[in-house]
Symmetry: C2
């Protein structure tokens, strides 16, 4: 369903040398082990706010540097205050080091007008080594039923997949399943579903860190429910289950229960070899716009 | 499907005066605000280990005391080392206080032979006030298809629902859906499902704290997959979506993907009025016994 012969493949960026890697770069402070300076890029904003998945990828990179294991296995993030483009500092703590798994904590801070640190997001995570896992898979999960890459809808087809002036649109190659894109023309399905093919715009392949971005990069399922709502994340937990194969990801997000002004968003991420590579769930508020 | 006229109803314990409440009691240390002493009861063990949901309820109670909002909305727990019955201390931190939600962190420690604190579980949680939420519900979720309370299987019917010498069996009134109890007689369904009616044995009604126990109190779905495996929790995140009505809960747990020695367990909790009151997901390891 996806062919590498597409014209843009020639200019493909690689893991380690891409927009995503440059914009999630961290620098450990001299004399302060586990403390990393970073710059939140304006390239990953939705309207004015920095995307929560981009933030998570940045924190995930810092934890990967701080912990002895390289890959996020489960990452729980609680979102505290809205982030803005500009300087940030990530403070990590090694909580426990084990043979198979290590657990760490990290907070990302920005600065108020007096230079005081303001916490944006706090994360607890357990890391391991995906390459060290046995290859056994026993699953009843099946990839989402959705049209081929070519038959899904990119921004060139009409309405922007994310409304407003959102820089992140240019960093992603997001092709929505037409069945979940009706909201863009005033005809939401009402089912609370969102499905898309996902790639970084410069063609960089997916890896565990970019999947922390991917799980929070689709338009909100609330749009497909017919709500004109802003749905800020309260908490987002992501399980990275397998290293993704090269090629675009398929992401399927479902909301089943909107109650008392809160909703869950369950995401599954599938790679080009039909493996379930990540699962996530977030609790979000539904705030009428 | 459930009738209050059952004979045990006369001796029913109440919220605040029950085994569960006594065994999750905490005492704030004089002069150390936010630090709580507790005693892990031997009554909630599975074989030798203290149940992870019981631990979570204890930490949840401490956070409820430390934060200005009473109810857990989303609780992310990373399990570090195995707990044993005996003294423990819970150290809490107020991370952020907002109007609708507050976020806190807590760690539960026990003590090594030199009296040094050993961290058992670390928790990030956002709390709110369930009673303050509007009553709107918009959902496509439906209660699990399972037999009535009377037609599910309690311990009196034959094999213990949890194998081994497990004290927790006496604290719970757990009635398994026969369709997910076949493993107890050597005939697992292979589907990775577990469903049960759930009550505390002394008849105390459910509340948000007891639901933190409930989501981790059923036999592991691995048994229904036909695995003889110990599946320790790496991380467990629970969303409490609504205050449960009196009466037994129905809990449905599903595992779809066992890969690389890890599996997810997704739980839904339904109350006696057919409301979805909690959702949880855990990442667990599958270790052959």
């Amino acid at each position: 369903m996806y062919r590498r012969s597409m014209s843009y493949a020639a200019a493909q960026a690689s893991i380690g040398d891409s927009e995503f890697d440059r914009d999630t770069a961290i620098t450990e402070r001299a004399g302060e082990p586990g403390v990393y300076d970073a710059e939140l890029s304006a390239g990953w904003t939705i309207i004015a706010a920095v995307n929560g998945g981009y933030l998570l990828a940045l924190v995930g990179r810092a934890l990967s540097a701080a912990l002895p294991h390289p890959d996020p296995f489960t990452v729980s993030a609680h979102y505290l205050t809205s982030s803005v483009p500009g300087p940030a500092v990530i403070r990590t703590e090694v909580v426990r080091v084990g043979r198979t798994l290590s657990t760490g904590q990290a907070s990302l801070f920005q600065f108020d007008e007096h230079g005081n640190e303001v916490e944006r997001i706090r994360v607890l995570a357990s890391y391991g080594d995906l390459a060290a896992l046995p290859d056994d898979v026993r699953t009843v999960a099946v990839p989402p039923l959705m049209p081929s890459y070519e038959n899904c809808v990119g921004p060139e087809a009409g309405p922007a997949p994310i409304p407003g002036s959102s820089a992140i649109v240019d960093r992603l190659r997001l092709r929505l399943d037409p069945a979940t894109a009706g909201w863009a023309v005033g005809a939401p399905s009402g089912k609370g579903e969102m499905r898309a093919w996902f790639e970084l715009a410069d063609g960089r392949d997916a890896d565990p860190l970019s999947m922390l971005l991917a799980v929070d990069a689709l338009p909100p399922t609330a749009f497909d429910l017919g709500l004109v709502a802003w749905t800020p994340t309260v908490e987002l937990t992501t399980h990275i289950r397998r290293r993704p194969a090269p090629g675009p990801l398929r992401i399927s997000i479902t909301t089943r229960n909107l109650a008392g002004g809160f909703l869950e968003e369950d995401a599954e991420v599938w790679d080009s070899t039909d493996h379930l590579v990540a699962q996530s769930r977030q609790l979000a508020r539904a705030l009428r716009m």
